[in-house]
Symmetry: none
Subunit: 209 residues, 4 copies
């Protein structure tokens, strides 16, 4: 009753390679989708744009995702999964609202810069520039919104309308984020300082009324 080492290795390596290939293909699609969404927007992107961004055949896309929407959600989940712990740590370790904002904003810009880096090269522009969020950013939005709302609820942040505060914070961060990304390399610290200060000053003044 012998099973040769070769048998085991072959079988393991075999399955391993297949598994690796599957994971790699999935990653390839996600990576291409990230780039495509960020360049064409969700509506502008087509499934074909995404597969063209990979070396896969058209049909292969459907072995991994049912639709454009599903890839979008996978990306959003991915972004949320990576960003949430950072934001949560910021919330838990923050000694005060200022601290929280600084840390959160810094985490956000760090995340943004990383996302951007992995984005790759632009495709040809289609139509006028239309602002459209990447799936990861949408996920991050929700985290930020929650964090800010919680801070207000806890009384840690000045008392202002939480919807407006969250919206304002997100707006500042998003637009400033775009400005930051136009620099090479992006100056994360400078952006963080400006945006955190802006938010803190803004919320203070808005609360003082």
């Amino acid at each position: 009753m012998t099973v040769s080492a070769t048998d085991i290795v072959e079988s393991e390596a075999g399955e391993g390679r297949r598994e690796k290939s599957k994971a790699a293909n999935r990653q390839a699609i996600l990576t291409a989708a990230r780039r495509v969404f960020s360049q064409l927007g969700y509506d502008g992107a087509t499934v074909r744009d995404i597969i063209r961004g990979t070396e896969l055949a058209s049909g292969t896309f459907y072995n991994y995702f049912k639709s454009k929407e599903e890839v979008f959600e996978a990306l959003a989940d991915d972004g949320a999964r990576r960003f949430r712990p950072v934001l949560r740590a910021a919330r838990e370790n923050a000694t005060c609202f200022e601290d929280y904002i600084y840390t959160a904003v810094h985490a956000y810009f760090t995340f943004l810069a990383e996302e951007h880096q992995s984005g790759g090269h632009p495709l040809k522009d289609r139509g006028p520039h239309v602002r459209s969020s990447t799936p990861e950013m949408l996920a991050v939005y929700e985290e930020v919104r929650d964090g800010v709302a919680e801070a207000i609820a806890k009384g840690v942040a000045p008392k202002v309308d939480p919807d407006y505060l969250a919206a304002a914070s997100i707006g500042v961060a998003q637009e400033a984020g775009e400005v930051m990304l136009r620099q090479t390399p992006p100056d994360i610290d400078a952006a963080t300082r400006f945006v955190a200060d802006f938010i803190l000053g803004g919320v203070q003044k808005a609360a003082s009324r």
Copy 2:
């Protein structure tokens, strides 16, 4: 080769009518396009959607615009043309930076509410939430950007990076604008107070570093 009286009359009346008709057709396309863009988004909208919204034949579209992009730009120009004078007046009459911001923000929200009203209501969800600006809003952005930049250049506004300031202001206004539009009816004054305060507080604190 005769030219009948009818021909002349037709030609005279015709040109008049034709001119009017030309302007009317162009306007019909723009009006339909505004509605369609606001309901389906730039990417979701098709030229067919636009002409279906008029009484014109499909080919006629191309007598007025080369493409969907061109209509979009025409709408943006239109929006800018309407908004610019207001912003300019705000600039010229402003006694100080605070005053300018208040007036400009108020003008922006007023404009936004009007646009929203005339836009009709969005039809159906097209996949995940994607932020997509109307052409008019894009135009307005540029105006605001310029106004803010100028204020900084003139020394009227605190000395901060103008790109960041403009970006932050726009971001706040845009996101807060969405929050405002979710109310019925939109409370323009409350939104204005919050946003103007937020911006003023923000720029002050950011400048103080």
Copy 3:
């Protein structure tokens, strides 16, 4: 106030030509569809098979029909429209059941031969032969079914289960029709004699039990 003859002619010929072209295209699609359905069956036929059978572009199909099903129905309507008057005349003019059957069967085979003639050349066979009725035949079936049922109801035909009688008549006619069409040229009279006799003998014996 002159309108030149040329103007009129141009305008008439113009519209006329366009109308003619529209009608011709529609006919081309129907003709191709008839052939395709008869050779591949309804399920086996694709819209692209149909347009490949014309000189039109793929998109043009949809200017005339919404789907494969709609062409099918148009063909069935067509067949019914052409066949119904003949059958009705047979019903009204028939002096007895035998007469009615002869005339109806003859009309059916005449119709079938015409249909077949206009069918054109075979495409390549796809899969095993699967019996599938052409749209026209389906329409004709209903006519026949009604005619037979009525004859029984009126007591003109022997008293047998009308469902079985109609089914049997149709079955005989259809299968014998295929045999007839294998001949070149089809001997309509011989087929009519055989089928009418067969039906009459059959119904008589079935009724005698």
Copy 4:
């Protein structure tokens, strides 16, 4: 290069199991195919539909059949193999033509009812009504055709064109068969009586001309 005991055992047991497995797999495919064809029709069915109806992997299908067409034929052969002995017995034991027809028709309707029972119920309407035979029925047709032709050749049946007679008989049986299957439960004897009588009466009258 050693062959371990395990290898041998595996190989021995394996072949036994493999043989069984091979037959079982083939049967699983055929069973699934029967159901799928009867529910979706030949054209509507896909190879994927068939393998989805088994527990096998998609590639495995091609170890047993080259294509959908081949399974269809295998099913037809199967049906013929089961029906042929019955028909042959009917032929051999028949004392006269009438007897033969009764027995054959009865066998056919019995077969039909069984097929129908085991076929499961059709799923959804795929467009307009299209008559599409199952593979087994096609096989049976050929048997019947041969039986009838032989009867005529032998002089047992009245002298009529054998093509027409076979066609007519099959047509009657097929259409009446559908009527019968619409009843629950199907009245095989009544259908047999009607159809056999119809055929006998028909052939007699057709021959008398």
